[in-house]
Amino acid sequence: MFHMGWFMGTGFGVYNWNQRWSGNVSSDVGNPQLFVDMATSLERAGFSYMMLEDSSVLPNVHRGTFESSVKNGGTIRFDPVPLIPFLTQATKNIGIVATISTSFYHPFMAARLFSTLDHVTNGRVGMNLVTSSNKSAMQNYGLKDLIPHDERYDRANEWVDVVKALWNSWDEDAVLMDEVNGVFADHTKVHTVDFEGKYYRSRGPLNTIPGPQRHPVICQAGGSDAGREFGARNADTIIAAVKGVEEMKSYRDDVSARMIAMGRDPKDVKVLFLISPVLADSKAAAEEKNAAMLKASAENIDAQVAGFSYFTSTDWSKYDYDEPFPDLSKNEGHQSTMNDFARSGATIREAVTNHRTQESVPLIGTPESIATEMGEYMDYAGGDGFLIAKPVTRQNITEIADGLAPALRKQGLIRPSYEHSTFRDNLLAY
C-alpha cells in the first residue's frame, strides 16, 4: 500500500481561470467551496493529505509588468492557513498541509499558530516548510536582499529546532483539568525553552496546550543538497520532483541514507512523488487528450514562459524562445530545477512546453492501466506514494477521486479506510 496526496500547485489560488470545465472560477476567486468539495472528495478517495503550495509575491518580472500575473489570475495566492479550518470542518480524516515560509514567520508565532490549528482540526494539520527563494517576496517582508541558498537552510534548520522545542515546552501530562480540586495544569511540567541560536531566540514556554498530534506533520520539498539534508533531518513527508523511475528510486534511497546517517529511521519519512495522470476511458482517448493538452500549452507559450520568469526572477521574454536554455546555475532559487533544464540542451520553448507540471513518471491511460503502472513504479522505486499535481478543477478532482482512486483501491494499492484519528498516525500507519 502507498499514500496518495494532492499537490495544489498554486495553493489557495485560482486554477484554470476562464477555461473549460473550471466552473464558476471567474467569480469564485477567494471562495472556499471548491476546496471544501476537493477535501470531501479526496477523503472519500482515502487520500492521506492535500498540500497547499504558497508564495508571497505578485510577480512583475516578465516584461516588467503585472499583466501576466493577473490577466488570468494565475499567480494570485491567498494565505492558505485560514482555509484549513474550512476544510477540516467539512471532513473527518484527511490531513491538510499548508505552506509557510521559515523566512517570514517567527518560530514562536508559527509554533503557537500550528499548535492552535492542531486543536481546531482535531489533529489533522501539517506545515510545508519553504525557505522562500524570491527576491520580491523578501522585499515584501522588508528584507533587502536574498539570503544565500545554503544559509537559508541553516536558518531553517534552526527555525525547526525552536518550533519543536516550543511544542515540547509542555510535558505530556502537564494538563490536569482537575475540576474537583480546581487545578488546570501542573506548573512544574511546563518549562521555559530559553533557546539561544545563531539566528533565533525564544524564551517560551508556549501559552497553548499541546494538540492531538503534539507535533503537527512537517512536509518539505526541494531537491538541492541542502534541501535534501533539511528534509531528511526534519520532515515527516517529502514532496519529490524527479524524472523517471530510476531517479525516484535513487531519491528515496538518498533520503534513507541521509536519515540513517542522522540516526533517524527511514520509515519515519514518507516520500511522495509528483504525478499528473492523464485519464480517459481508453488508452487511445487518453493519448489524444494528452496531445491536445501539449498543443494548448505550446500555443500559450508566453504564459508558460512567464511562469519561468517568476520562478527564476529573470525576464525570459527578452530571450529567443527557440535558443537553448541558458546556464542559470548561479540562480539562487530553485537551483536543482534550473540545472536540469540547462543540462538537457532543450530550447526554452521545448523545455517550457514539456515541463507542464512536475511529473516524475508520465501516466496516460485508463484508471485501471494507470493504477497498475503506479503499483509497479512504486514496487521498483520503493517510495511511499504519489502526489497529484493537476490543476484543481472539479473535473480533475472527479477523475482522480472517483476514477483513479477506486481502481487503486481494487488493486489493494491504497487504504480502504482511515485507521487512526490523527493525520500523523494515518501517515505513519504504513
Partner: protein, 427 residues
C-alpha cells in the same frame, strides 16, 4: 439604537466554575461555534477575541498561579479560530487580536484580506502593541520596546498595512470572461512602502476582499494609544467607569477624531461592561452580591490580576500596608486606574475593592432600562459584554437580554448589510 459586541479570550473560559458546561473540555471549539451562532441570532455586531503570547509569571515570580487556575493562560491563537466561526455563521462580525509588534505587515495584510474573502467581509483586527516583556522574549528580544516606541512602531505598521490593503485599486478586478481578463494590471501598484520601522515592496498577491480594509479595532487608553485610535480605528474597546468618566472619555475620543480630520461618528466606541442578569431584579442583585463576595474572598486571584496587568509582583508586598508608588512600562492606563486616588489605602483594601467598571445588574427589563439610561447620558455607541462564555451567560445575555432590547428598538432587528463595516456604520 446602539451596538453590541462580546469581548472574549480563546482560553479556558470559566473552566471549573459552576454552569461552565464544556469549559472543562477546553479547547474544544464547539463551545465557540455555539456561542457565535447565539450572538448572531441576538443581532450582535461582533465578537472580539483578545489575545496574548505569554504565560503570566509576575505574581510570585512563577507561572504557578496562572497555570493552576487557568488565569490568562493558556491562550490559543485567535486567527485559527476566526475561519471556523466564519464557516459557521453568516452575518456576525469576527474580530481577532493581532500584535503590531510581532506580525510582519505583509503577513498581516494578506491574512486579513484572505479572511475577508473567506468570511464574506465580516472580519476585523484588534491592534495591540503587546504589553509584556515575556511576549518580547518569546519573540527573541531581551525586553519590550518602551511604551511610546511601541506606538511609533504600531503607527508605522498600520500605515504599511493600509498601503498594502490598497495596492489594488477598487476597480482592478474586472472579471471579463469574454476577453479573458481577470484583473487590469494597470490598476495594481507596487507599494514601495518605506517607514522608520517597516518597508514593503507590494502589491499584495491577493485581490481586495469585500471590505477592502477590514475593520480596525483598538483598545489603548493612554494618550498615545488614543492618538493611534483616532487615526486608524473603526471601533474602540473602551474601559468603563462612572457615567461622568465615560462621558469624558467619549468626548475626548471624538475631539481626537476631529483633530485627526475624521468624522467622529465614523468610529464606534463600545464600553466594556459586566452583566449580571436574573429572572427578577432581586435575583440579579443577589447574584451580584455573591459574585462580589467570591471575588473579594479570592485575594490571591485579585493580586495575580494586578500583577498580570502591571508586571509588578504584588505577592512581595505587605497586604496591610499602603502601597508604595509603582511605575510600569506595561498596561499603563489599567495600572494607574487601580491606584488613582487610593494612596492612603492598604494593598488588601485596594485588591478587595471591585474596580469600578460599569455593571448592568437586573432582570432583562431593568437591565435594558439601565443600558438605555447609560447611552442617553454618555451618548456612546454601545456595549461590549465582558464575560467568559458559559451556556448561562449566553442564555442570559443573548437569549434574554437581547430580545428585550430588540423589542424596545434599542438594538438592530436584523442585519441590514453583508459586511461588518456596513453593519457597524449603519447607525
Amino acid at each position: 439604537m446602539f451596538h453590541l459586541g462580546w469581548f472574549l479570550s480563546f482560553s479556558t473560559q470559566a473552566w471549573h466554575a459552576p454552569h461552565s458546561d464544556r469549559g472543562g473540555l477546553f479547547p474544544n471549539t464547539d463551545v465557540y461555534v455555539d456561542f457565535a451562532r447565539a450572538l448572531e441570532r441576538a443581532g450582535f455586531d461582533y465578537l472580539m477575541i483578545e489575545d496574548g503570547s505569554f504565560i503570566p509569571d509576575a505574581y510570585g515570580s512563577s507561572m504557578e498561579h496562572s497555570l493552576r487556575t487557568g488565569f490568562a493562560s493558556p491562550k490559543h491563537d485567535p486567527m485559527a479560530l476566526v475561519p471556523l466561526l466564519a464557516a459557521s455563521t453568516e452575518k456576525i462580525g469576527l474580530i481577532a487580536t493581532m500584535t503590531t509588534s510581532f506580525y510582519p505587515p505583509f503577513l498581516a495584510a494578506r491574512l486579513m484580506t484572505t479572511l475577508d474573502h473567506l468570511s464574506g467581509g465580516r472580519v476585523g483586527f484588534n491592534l495591540v502593541t503587546a504589553h509584556n516583556d515575556r511576549t518580547a522574549q518569546n519573540y527573541g528580544m531581551d525586553k519590550h520596546w518602551d511604551h511610546s516606541e511601541r506606538y511609533a512602531i504600531a503607527t508605522d505598521w498600520a500605515q504599511a498595512v493600509t498601503a498594502l490593503l490598497t495596492s489594488w485599486d477598487e476597480d482592478a478586478v474586472v472579471d471579463d470572461t469574454v476577453n479573458g481578463v481577470y484583473a487590469d494590471h494597470t490598476k495594481i501598484h507596487q507599494t514601495d512602502y518605506a517607514g522608520d520601522y517597516f518597508s514593503s515592496r507590494g502589491p499584495l498577491n491577493v485581490p481586495p476582499g469585500p471590505q477592502r480594509i477590514p475593520v480596525i479595532c483598538q483598545a489603548g487608553g493612554s494618550p498615545v494609544g488614543r492618538a493611534f485610535a483616532s487615526r486608524f480605528a473603526d471601533t474602540i474597546v473602551a474601559p468603563s467607569g462612572s457615567i461622568e468618566w465615560m462621558k469624558q472619555y467619549r468626548t475626548d475620543i471624538r475631539a481626537g477624531l476631529v483633530d485627526a480630520g475624521r468624522d467622529p461618528d465614523a468610529v464606534k466606541v463600545l464600553f466594556l461592561t459586566d452583566f449580571i442578569i436574573g429572572d427578577t431584579h432581586e435575583d440579579a442583585l443577589e447574584l451580584q452580591r455573591r459574585r462580589h463576595a467570591a471575588m473579594v474572598a479570592d485575594i490571591e486571584g485579585r493580586l495575580a490580576y494586578m500583577s498580570f496587568a502591571s508586571g509588578i509582583d504584588f505577592s512581595t508586598f505587605d497586604l496591610d500596608a499602603p502601597v508604595p508608588p509603582v511605575s510600569t512600562n506595561a498596561a499603563k492606563t489599567t495600572t494607574a486606574q487601580m491606584f488613582a486616588g487610593r494612596e492612603h489605602q492598604t494593598l488588601r483594601e485596594i485588591a478587595s475593592t471591585i474596580i469600578p467598571s460599569l455593571e448592568i445588574v437586573g432582570s432583562p427589563a431593568t437591565a435594558a432600562d439601565q443600558m438605555e439610561a447609560v447611552m442617553a447620558e454618555v451618548g456612546g455607541d454601545g456595549f461590549l459584554v465582558n464575560s467568559p462564555i458559559t451556556p448561562r451567560a449566553i442564555a442570559d445575555i443573548a437569549g434574554d437580554l437581547a430580545p428585550e432590547l430588540r423589542r424596545r428598538g434599542l438594538i438592530r432587528s436584523e442585519y441590514t448589510a453583508d459586511t461588518l463595516r456596513g453593519n457597524l456604520t449603519a447607525y
